[in-house]
């Protein structure tokens, strides 16, 4: 019954994972996490500030929000720019109204191109995480490792230089990685990455250059996924997030602290017909006594996972 066909060879069939990035562990088997002040659900809101180059070159996969019309795709270029000119200021107002401290995932090119917006974020004291160079500088195994390393170095150097922040977090543009990305992130001083969505809580992640924390930023509840990919209504988006929050609050009653991670794009959620829905949603979420609004770093610190 032996076969030489590589389609029936299983080199990594063994206990645990089929790679060595992290340990296999079921959520239910871990010690219960206790959030500060007895809170049940940590609400993490990430807002991404992005620059989509008009001349998009990497077509390996469609980046959510990327250019897709024949060049020059002015409709999408300017609509994405809307988020950085208009949408973000509406979103900041709404976040402030509900006492939510976001993390801001920022393309390095955006920080360079929009000093006013960058400075506004810096002055607010929001935690900035690296979001790659721009939405056309992707990370996947089809690009040269030297180029990928340069992209990461330029990104974190630029953001550290322009914001004065330590820049510990990373979110890849389009949430894709190569086999080397985690190693390169650790090499360039990143402490946590948000691309892997395989857990409900932060967990320890291995690289050749020391440990990282994986901080899962849910794609399923991302505004682009629900509204743009699934074409669900704003009301359904609100309902799904509220259902998730209620589910997590209930689970936390018996199993320890949980996390609700929302990823928001100003060019989408900052539109006038959507901002009211977001406002009402965040109001209801923060009205729950058990909900704790916190940044990624605060959640990681409280979770006990070491960066």
């Amino acid at each position: 019954m032996t076969t030489k066909n590589p389609l029936l060879q299983y080199a990594h069939r063994r206990y645990g994972m089929d790679h060595d990035r992290y340990e296999w562990s079921m959520l239910k088997d871990r010690p219960a996490i206790e959030w500060p002040a007895g809170k049940k659900v940590a609400l993490w809101v990430n807002v991404s500030l992005q620059f989509f180059p008009l001349a998009q070159t990497d077509k390996t996969f469609p980046v959510p929000g990327g250019m897709r019309m024949p060049y020059p795709d002015l409709r999408h270029f300017s609509l994405r720019d809307y988020g950085n000119r208009v949408g973000i200021y509406r979103i900041l107002k709404v976040l402030d109204a509900h006492g939510i401290k976001p993390t801001i995932a920022m393309n390095a090119d955006l920080a360079t191109r929009c000093p006013a917006l960058r400075q506004r974020i810096v002055d607010r004291g929001d935690e900035i995480i690296a979001h790659g160079l721009n939405m056309d500088a992707l990370h996947h195994s089809g690009i040269d490792p030297t180029l990928e390393s340069e992209r990461i170095k330029t990104t974190v150097d630029t953001l550290r230089d322009l914001t004065g922040q330590a820049i510990e977090g990373w979110l890849s543009p389009g949430k894709s990685q190569s086999f080397d990305t985690p190693d390169l992130l650790a090499e360039h001083g990143i402490g946590y990455q948000c691309d892997w969505v395989n857990d409900a809580l932060p967990y320890a992640f291995r690289t050749r250059n020391g440990p990282l924390v994986a901080m899962p930023l849910s794609t399923e509840l991302e505004d682009t996924h629900i509204l743009m990919n699934n074409l669900h209504s704003e009301d359904s988006y609100v309902e799904q997030v509220e259902d998730a929050c209620r589910f997590l609050l209930t689970e936390a009653e018996t199993q320890g602290g949980r996390m609700l991670a929302l990823s928001i794009h100003p060019w989408l959620m900052g539109q006038p017909h959507r901002i009211g829905k977001l406002d009402a949603l965040l109001g209801r979420l923060t009205d729950h006594e058990g909900v704790w609004s916190a940044t990624a770093s605060e959640i990681i610190a409280a979770s006990g996972v070491r960066v």
Partner: protein
């Protein structure tokens, strides 16, 4: 290649011999969660690429499926526990090696385990008959040795088939469990009642309905329905099958995945639908094997005779 696989003859959904489920139930309900392992860096199959979004590794695809095992499996079981539902698990055999804890949780709940190949990133394409047998033997052995039970059913991995997939399942299973053990396939979506399938060996094999339309991945990923709409689809389907089941027993299958239906934003819709369905009196909460065995013992011959007496057709 053939125009028709010739697995079954045409059989109109009217005037069929009456199917009677145990205790006068109108619907046999089975929940079939897929407990799968998708590989981080699977080999490329010439006919189908496991990860299509990016070159390997596809972090998005891989990690949400890993979420299903780390987080979703326990949530799925907790929801089914509430309603006294024993799952019929469509199992990637390699999960027994990677995550034996999940297999132990299934055994503790008396779940049925049936074959869903070795990995859901390995297909029945580009394999010789002998190689396809090898994959089947591998999965059946794992369920026997690690799961402690005879495998009765097969859902081909990632619904990948050759012309002989069903024949080979019947033949390999017979080598393991003899000519009389109940065997079923859930690879065909042609009916809402069990139907006899033709095999080249003549081995009895029954097709058990497994709804592709109600499969959570098809609903959520392909058809992009909202969670509430999915819950309503389950209720609507149930209402019709329950009403029709008063005349002759029907089968309702809810095929699920641990990284879809029990995610926090979808769990409520699923739970409420199960609450509605199991709130009806004449529902037989069954497993795939139990449905197949009951049909084979009580209705298979009658069905064959009725099909033979019909006008035929395919």
């Amino acid at each position: 290649m053939k125009a028709d696989p010739q697995f079954y003859d045409y059989w109109a959904y009217e005037n069929r011999p009456r199917i009677q489920w145990p205790n006068g139930a109108k619907v046999a309900l089975w929940v079939a969660p897929n407990f799968e392992y998708y590989e981080f860096d699977p080999p490329k199959n010439p006919f189908r690429t496991p990860w299509k979004r990016t070159p390997n590794p596809d972090i998005a695809g891989y990690s949400i499926r890993d979420y299903g095992n780390r987080v979703g499996a326990e949530r799925q079981m907790a929801i089914l526990d509430r309603f006294g539902i024993r799952a019929s698990v469509s199992l990637s055999a390699a999960l027994c090696d990677h995550h034996p804890e999940i297999i132990e949780m299934c055994k503790a709940r008396d779940y049925e385990l049936f074959s869903h190949g070795v990995y859901n990133t390995r297909y029945n394409y580009a394999l010789s008959e002998q190689e396809e047998r090898t994959m089947l033997r591998d999965s059946i052995e794992a369920i026997l040795e690690k799961g402690g039970q005879a495998c009765s059913g097969y859902l081909a991995p990632a619904l990948s088939h050759s012309e002989h997939t069903l024949d080979l399942f019947a033949e390999v299973s017979t080598e393991f469990f003899g000519p009389d053990a109940p065997l079923y396939s859930c690879d065909l979506f042609h009916d809402d009642q069990p139907t006899p399938l033709r095999t080249r060996s003549g081995r009895r094999l029954v097709s058990i309905p497994y709804s592709l339309e109600l499969n959570d991945t098809i609903a959520y990923v392909v058809n992009k329905v909202t969670p509430r709409r999915y819950g309503q689809m389950l209720r609507d389907a149930f209402d019709v099958l329950y009403a029709e089941g008063a005349e002759s027993g029907t089968v309702m299958c809810i095929p699920t995945h641990n990284y879809q239906v029990t995610c926090p934003h979808r769990a409520a819709a699923f739970t409420e639908a199960l609450e509605y369905i199991t709130g009806h009196e004449d529902v037989w909460l069954a497993t795939g094997r139990e449905i197949a065995a009951h049909f084979l013992d009580h209705h298979y011959d009658e069905a064959q005779a009725a099909i033979a007496a019909g006008l035929g057709g395919t």
